[in-house]
Structure formats: structure tokens, C-alpha cells
Symmetry: C2
Subunit: 202 residues, 2 copies
């Protein structure tokens, strides 16, 4: 769905630029980021950036496009026909893996929401809300059938987001508190499995 790539070199440069832009936007947010920083990380001149993208805004938009989809894939993958506790633990696992493997994307998203979601409001009130309602209905059914413990299903989903994204977004704090010799994501995996197993056991 992205703009027409022509040559292989063009595509490569676009990717290089987007990667550098993700570095900078994810740390400083849209307003705090500068083209100079992005150009430096990409190893290209500033005008050259603007040969590939019409504006700073366009780079940011391209990064946001599709981000929400990627972010929601783990939730989409939750199978209404599966075993409830397993499905939930699987969702937590996939969401944590995403936070571990794509921390910059997680922070880009966090920045966008912190700023009031000026560029994602529509998607959040639309796709996101709809998917959550759909999965919350599945959770409610499982609770009615006594297959998982009863608890507010929407806030249950919020809690998974909060607990997994925390390890990406607050990585600096997590590592500072843990100190050296720790693997935050490995420990988080074990901890969250315990939490949700105890919480959901009927």
C-alpha cells in the first residue's frame, strides 16, 4: 500500500530514511525531531531526504501507517475457538515479543498517544475500538461458560497492553532499577505468565 517504488536503489534509500526517521521520531516525537538528525543517521543530505519524501510530515505519516495494524495483529490472532487460558497467555506472549523486537515502534506509538493522538485518532476510535469490542465479547463468553475467571474484559486487554509496552517504553527505567546482569524481557515473560495464569484460573 506504500508509494510506488521504482528502482532497487530508490527502495533501499527510502528504507534507510524511514529507519533513521523511526530512530528520531520514537525518541523525540514529531515536533522534537529534526530533519538534520534524521539526515545524519541516514547518512544522506537533508535535501536528499526531501527528494524521497515530500515533507517531514510525510515521513512520519508513512511510519504511522500500518503501525496500528502491526500492533493489533497479536490480538487479532486470538482464536475464539481455542482454549481460553492458552489463548490469553499466547496473546500476552506475542505482545511482549513485539515490544521486545520493535521497541522503537512501541515508543513511536506511545509518543503519538501521549500527544493526544493527533494523527491516529480516527484509527483508534474506529479499527481499534471495534477489534477490542469484538474480542471483549469472546472473553465475556468464556467467562459466562466458566472457562476463565470473571473480570472486566476491556480492562483486561488494557492491562496486557500496559504491562507489555511498559518494558519497551520505559526500558531505560526498567534497566536502571534492575541493574546489570538482568534480561528484562525474559524475566517479564515469566512474571506475566504467572500473573495471568493466577488471574484467569477459573
Amino acid at each position: 500500500m506504500s508509494a510506488k517504488p521504482r528502482t532497487r536503489i530508490q527502495q533501499k534509500n527510502r528504507d534507510t530514511i524511514l529507519d533513521a526517521a523511526l530512530d528520531v521520531f520514537s525518541i523525540h516525537g514529531f515536533r522534537g525531531a529534526t530533519l538534520d538528525q534524521i539526515a545524519e543517521r541516514a547518512g544522506l543530505s537533508k535535501p536528499n531526504l526531501l527528494y524521497y519524501f515530500p515533507s517531514k510530515e510525510a515521513m512520519h505519516q508513512e511510519l504511522l501507517t500500518g503501525l496500528l495494524d502491526t500492533w493489533l495483529d497479536p490480538l487479532r490472532a486470538m482464536d475464539p475457538q481455542g482454549k481460553p487460558v492458552e489463548e490469553m497467555l499466547g496473546y500476552v506472549r506475542r505482545k511482549l515479543d513485539l515490544a521486545r523486537d520493535y521497541p522503537r515502534e512501541s515508543r513511536l506509538f506511545a509518543n503519538e498517544i501521549l500527544q493526544g493522538a493527533p494523527r491516529m485518532r480516527g484509527a483508534i476510535e474506529g479499527d481499534l475500538r471495534k477489534l477490542v469490542a469484538e474480542k471483549a465479547a469472546v472473553l465475556t463468553r468464556w467467562m459466562d461458560e466458566g472457562r476463565i475467571a470473571r473480570v472486566d474484559p476491556v480492562h483486561l486487554i488494557f492491562s496486557i497492553w500496559a504491562l507489555t509496552q511498559h518494558y519497551a517504553d520505559f526500558d531505560v527505567q526498567v534497566r536502571a532499577v534492575l541493574g546489570a546482569g538482568h534480561d528484562p524481557f525474559a524475566e517479564a515473560g515469566r512474571f506475566l505468565e504467572t500473573v495471568f495464569t493466577r488471574l484467569l484460573q477459573p
Copy 2:
């Protein structure tokens, strides 16, 4: 501990400026915020801002100073002599109240950490880490005594931070997903009480 206030008017203007600065910094982060925005919200001219504070940096610093202390007070208040489950639920309650009553401060903090904590690293590696270690020891003792369920004590504290701050930092998303007619913090209070009661019950 803040700079010498002289007249009552001076103190009032300083407070007005800091309040406006908190509005802007908490949304856009340090780099993304501008003095123009702060001046407009404060109803003062830009040079007048700089009569009260030597620089933009100084305003930001003043807001950060003491923020960590406020943020950690609920954890400090956890009593090693109290009843374990009650103490933990009390901590969650106080932390959630803080997120509800001071969402801008929560977002200011989130922005700072997201950006790699360039202005708070020392405090995080010092005071914060020390306090967490101290309280984790208390939690470990309670687990050894069989008074709360065994779980990684540091990640347990992380989980309280993540779950409470989420409602302030991702407020826009939470409200968009819940839709109208909800009180996110009231619902969160009930949900988190359930979560931590089930998790910690020995």
C-alpha cells in the same frame, strides 16, 4: 526548596507560568514545546516568561525537580509492619489516585523516560533504584513468611507502575476504546483491586 519568591504577585506569576509549562511540556516533551505556546497559555508575553525564569531549560528543570519524589511517595508510604495484602492494595490505590489527579505530571515523566531520561538518569539510578530495592526486600520477606504469594517482587512493582500510569499516559486511547458513559479511573480501581487480590492471595 524552590527559588526565593519575593512578592505575592511574583509567586503567583511563577505558578501561572509553571502550570502553563506543564501543560505544554507534558504533551510535546521538552524539544517539542515552545515558549510561544507556554506564553499564550499563561497569558503573558514571551519576554515576561524569561523575566521569571532564566531559560526554557530552567522551567523544565523546576518541573522535574521534586516530581520523582511525589511519584515515589505512595511507595514510601508502604508500611513494612502493616498487613501485606492491605499494604499492597493501598499502594495501588494511592498510585492510581495520583495518576487520576496529576495526569500531566505522569505524562511529563513518561516523556522524560521515553526520551531516555536525559535529565533524570541520576535520580533514577540513585533514589529510585534504592527505594525499589528496599521495598522489594520487604515483599520478599512477606513471601518467605507465606503472607503473600511468591512472585518476582521488582516486576511486581513495575506492574503497579505500568497499570496505574497507563490510565494517565494513554488516557486518550482508553477513553476512545471505552466510549462515552464510562469513568476509566473508577473502573480501573475496581479492576486493579481484583487483579492484585487474586495475584497476591497466598
